[in-house]
Amino acid sequence: MANVISDETIEYVGILAKLELSGEEREQAKKDMGRMLDYIDKLNELDTTGVEPMSHVFPVNNVFREDVVENGDDRENMLKNAPEQKDGTYVVPITVE
């Protein structure tokens, strides 16, 4: 494995992903990530001079909707996805900055 992931990096990625990893999981994640980066290095061996970066897998452009309201009030159904609800809203842990 050419890429070695440091403890600091895995800690930082963990914070960004909101993941708390145990010691064992952390070691496994370091290994997995190293292997992923090795694979990217492999791709980097290809000469891509003059190749436009691709942003979509299909050669399709301009898929649009007209500006017409079609959805009605489906709150009852939507809120079935909420772990907890109150007065028509989703209840989440408090988030005051």
Partner: protein
């Protein structure tokens, strides 16, 4: 303070577009619905849902970009901005980082030192977030996703402004331009226009920029002015006492008149943008751009010029009439009905402005119809009512959009110009005011004004002042 400092300001302005539906789904964007009644799997970020771009969003963004003299990225695409916060159900906001739809533009503002161009770095399309209500008692937050997915454009300026006055001039110009385009109503209080202020200070003559802070939560021009003054002084004080300005986001509290740090940028700014694979690229042809250009409405400067040429309105008046889109619309629609541009201009500039000011309203809040203002002007032109009565009637037109013709008829406000009907009253007034009569006869021409006033009062303002004058002179000069 020994050193001279200069303030450097750049703005990020978010504008909610006036589309009927959200940017990626056909949910309504109507303001004020019961919580979560305008939501679907797309705007609540359900797995497997697929966003489809609203064409109108692209057209509004193009219209604003062209009006702001921007270049267009004719191949543009959407990116995901990743962050965790419950107002953002997907855990990413769909935005544009790499190829924003418009870039490198600029708009001209008037400053105390003359004209100045504020350059626009870019304009990009993105989706708005939901609304959080914090319930401190229950120790939880409640989320309403009605606003999630409402289309926004973010207009990012270069750091070209140097004072609060320039910032306000830029925002007013931007707001007017967007309102004229019909792309948004741009109401700061309701949040359809929001400005984040990036500000730094540096010693006059220095090239390099100082460390900047970003201020959020500014929802009026007044708050923006106060926040700029407050932040400028805070940064200067730090530098003067040998401390450093920390790059951070600060929240302005207008009631306290102070800002406080929200979060440090270093640990929270890793958004890991990448192209959104759910959305196809947007290709904007030359023809499409031309189509938008051809459809651009007449802007303020053009209207000002046309009002002067076509209607003979003085430059100053044309400036006021076009200072809000709604005012200009009222002027044009009313003039089309009554063909008296100068009178329409006068009613809008004097009485309408006065009442708007009295009620603390904006031109956008005008409720009366051009039809009823045109009718009122018609009544004065036909001599059916005099100016004093017209002003009283106008207050009802302004408040309740009443039909002035019907109102004048019902309340019996028609002007009395019949000599026979007036002569009796005038004779009584003359008899009751011997002193004024004596003054007049003694050469004081002005004394007649008092007698006219008394007659008008007795006639409850409905007398024709010309006829009253004529009869009075006849009696007095006898």
């Amino acid at each position: 303070m020994s050193k001279q400092y200069e303030t450097v300001i750049g703005l990020e302005v978010h504008v909610e577009l006036a589309t009927k539906t959200k940017i990626f789904c056909s949910c309504s964007t109507a303001f004020g619905g019961a919580p979560n009644t305008h939501t679907c799997p797309v705007c609540t970020g359900m797995p497997g849902s697929l966003p489809v771009l609203n064409k109108q969003v692209v057209e509004y963004a193009l219209a604003v970009g062209l009006a702001a003299n921007c270049q267009i990225h004719q191949y543009c695409k959407f990116d995901r901005k990743n962050y965790f916060y419950p107002d953002n159900p997907q855990n990413y906001q769909i935005s544009q980082l790499y190829l924003p739809i418009c870039h490198d533009g600029g708009i001209e503002i008037e400053t105390a030192e003359g004209k100045k161009t504020v350059r626009i770095h870019e304009i990009h399309m993105e989706e708005d977030a939901g609304k959080l209500i914090h319930d401190e008692w229950e120790d939880c937050s409640l989320v309403d996703y009605n606003r999630s997915g409402v289309p926004l454009i973010e207009i990012v300026s270069e750091p070209d402004m140097r004072s609060a006055e320039e910032v306000i001039a830029y925002l007013e110009k931007l707001r007017m331009m967007i309102q004229y385009l019909g792309a948004s109503d741009c109401k700061l209080q309701e949040g359809s226009m929001r400005a984040d202020v990036n500000l730094s200070v540096r010693e006059v003559g220095t090239e390099a920029f100082g460390t900047r802070t970003e201020m959020k939560n500014l929802n009026s021009f007044r708050a923006i002015t106060h926040a700029i003054e407050g932040e400028k002084n805070r940064q200067i004080d730090l530098l003067e006492s040998g401390e450093q300005v920390v790059q951070e986001t600060r929240r302005w509290d207008d009631t306290k008149g102070a800002s406080y740090a929200m979060r440090s940028k270093e640990d929270a700014q890793d958004y890991r943008y990448f192209p959104d694979p759910d959305l196809t690229p947007v290709v904007i042809s030359d023809e499409w751009i031309q189509e938008i250009r051809d459809r651009q409405p007449e802007m303020r400067e053009e209207k000002q010029e046309r009002y002067q040429k076509e209607y003979g309105i003085p430059a100053y008046d044309a400036g006021i009439l076009t200072s809000a889109k709604r005012m200009a619309d009222m002027f044009e629609e009313t003039t089309a009905l009554c063909k008296s541009p100068k009178k329409v201009s006068n009613w809008l500039m004097v009485e309408t402005m006065r009442l708007l000011k009295e009620h603390g309203m904006d031109a956008e809040d005008i409720r009366f119809s051009p039809e009823n203002l045109a009718k009122l002007i018609g009544l004065t032109e036909a001599g059916t009512i005099n100016n004093t009565v017209a002003k009283e009637v106008f207050e009802f037109v302004f408040d309740k959009d009443i039909d002035p013709e019907q109102y004048v008829e019902e309340k019996g406000l028609k002007m009395v110009g019949d000599e026979g009907a007036l002569r009796g009253t005038i004779e009584e007034i003359v008899a009751a005011n011997p002193q004024s009569v004596a003054d007049y006869k003694g050469g004081k021409q002005k004394a007649i004004g008092f007698l006219v006033g008394q007659t008008m009062k007795a006639m409850k303002g409905k007398a024709d002042p010309g006829v009253v004058n004529k009869i009075l002179k006849e009696i007095l000069d006898k």
